[in-house]
Symmetry: C2
Subunit: 351 residues, 2 copies
């Protein structure tokens, strides 16, 4: 796979086919690993950073983790490419913004992405459509095993895997789901749901993870504790208790919205689709607001001529770097509003 | 013609075909006349009011003013019918609300409408599409002549025709045009235009005349002075100086809007049409706001699949009494918002 193919890549996690996909957009698991005998990244000399990048690049390409693995030299990549990878949730904001030697390996279906020299030497991620935490954990475990066969990871018999930040020590495992909580937002119950989440030691974040805003009513809910508990315990609690509870809340809120005033919510949904199909100028924020309502409308069968895969892809495609990649040139934000509107009309059959 | 046919009547003044119809929706002239030897209406006894109504009804039906003349006994008419006639600009609000014996004669094409026992014994109106003041004056003069051949009008050799209110004494002629000043409203220049109008002793009023609000950026501009000037002078000044000036201002404002940021105004127009074509619930006020922008869009050829006649008719059809007449029953305002949205989607080909 080439980097240039990414914007139009039919990536697995956006297909909208996984379990509970009315509420759960995607499931993500992450492992943090460091090479034994090497300092954590912030303590590395420039030479050590470079050596690490070279070693890990070679290992990732040789380990046959997935067919057609793409490796991006992030230090050499242009800003637009880095922005694109960020928008596709394949790497973190700090990784995009940094300047030291670093890289990123991505599988062709984009389910697997491994950052080299982020906060830890290796940050592996598996991202899948719908509620597929267990499947994602299995997939990442296979990657971890393949790499561990070639690399010596820093491990402490009592603490577990050692990581640059103490919150990741132990399993190094973080699980998160991207939830579409549009009805809880509309009914104003979302704050209550978030308070409950914080009581369960969960972190609730925006569309692009730590320090970002929620857009399009999409929220990342993830576990916070990695130390002192087994991977299995973490996964089980998350999959059988926590996320199902969010799904129940959101589904109840949707039902109650339609029960209370079906016509009012249908009106909102139909107008949102009409805006996306007719605007000549539209911002990201407004687009995401409408996409969110339309997504609920598709699940509620208010809208029948738009499919979920198209909608999920639009959440990515209308972002700045994607628009510029599709257009094939850098464009300013005013022109982007025009290009975005054109893209929406074309994709959604507007006029 | 029957009253029941009115809501779907293809009335002349809404056809959108007259001169300058991009800005001038319609032209209206009105004459006020009173029967000599009878007191003005407020001074009449109930018996005199009844006698007047009977006499004038008979005269109007016999005078062959227009083919298929409809006469409505307004005192007997139900509230919905009175509201309908008001919405169609065929009678005034006070005439709709009063309780004494009174009537209304309407020609089949709705260009001519004559109120019996309004403020004056007779209030004749001619309403035509676009800028057609001269034609309207000719038409009303013919009606006036035919009636004067059968009735003795109160006339003073020095003051002219006598009327209940001194502002109408003289010719009894009032001229007005319904102007669509959407661009002047958007550019914020409308107040300036209105100040200029007041300096010229013009009255600027809302959609339904005196004491009503402007809706859909439609304004009634009319002359105020009737005393001491000939009909010809009034008409000439109005048609060759005053209204052309308004038209120039509005057209300049439209050009400048498109010149400054064509895409922004096209965006506004396209979104308005999309709202009308997609809403499931919509108020009169919101509908008129969108109709106004769409009307400008049709003239600017931003919108090509909607015709002016349809749009002009919608300004009437989405009003409460019209919706109820079309539906064939009385409906509350919440249901009207649903029926209005359905009607708009059906008429404009929405989904």
């Amino acid at each position: 796979m080439k980097l240039a193919d990414l914007p139009k890549n039919d990536c697995q996690w956006l297909r909208g086919v996984g379990p509970m996909h009315d509420v759960v957009i995607s499931s993500r698991v992450r492992l943090a690993r460091n090479i034994a005998g090497m300092p954590f990244l912030t303590k590395c000399s420039p030479q050590q950073q470079q050596d690490l990048e070279a070693l890990l690049r070679k290992t990732l390409l040789e380990a046959q983790l997935a067919p057609e693995m793409l490796y991006v030299d992030v230090q050499q990549a242009c800003e637009l490419d880095r922005q694109l990878l960020l928008e596709r949730h394949l790497m973190s904001k700090p990784h995009a913004k940094a300047e030291h030697p670093r890289g990123l390996a991505v599988s062709a279906d984009e389910t697997a992405a491994i950052m080299v020299n982020e906060e830890d030497h290796l940050r592996m991620q598996v991202l899948r459509s719908g509620l597929q935490i267990e499947q994602a954990v299995e997939q990442i475990a296979r990657i971890d095993e393949k790499l561990e066969a070639r690399l010596d990871f820093a491990f402490h018999s009592r603490y577990g895997y050692l990581t640059a930040c103490p919150t990741n020590v132990g399993t190094g495992l973080r699980i998160s789901t991207m939830l579409h909580l549009v009805a809880l937002k509309l009914t104003g119950e979302i704050e209550k749901a978030f308070r409950a989440a914080r009581d369960l030691h969960l972190a609730v974040r925006g569309f692009h993870g730590e320090g970002t805003e929620a857009v399009g009513d999409l929220f990342q809910v993830s576990n916070q504790t990695t130390l002192g508990r087994s991977e299995q315990q973490i996964v089980e609690e998350f999959c059988t208790q926590i996320i199902p509870q969010f799904i129940r809340y959101e589904r109840l809120a949707r039902t109650s919205l339609f029960k209370r005033n079906a016509l009012a919510i249908e009106d909102k949904i139909c107008r949102s689709l009409a805006m996306l199909r007719s605007a000549r100028l539209i911002s990201s924020a407004e687009t995401l607001y409408h996409l969110s309502l339309v997504r609920m409308g598709v699940h509620a069968e208010v809208i029948k001529d738009v499919d979920l895969k198209t909608l999920n892809a639009l959440f990515l495609m209308i972002q700045p770097a994607h628009l510029q990649k599709v257009r094939g040139q850098e464009i300013d934000s005013v022109t982007r509003a025009v290009v975005r509107a054109e893209y929406l009309r074309k994709t959604l059959g507007g006029n």
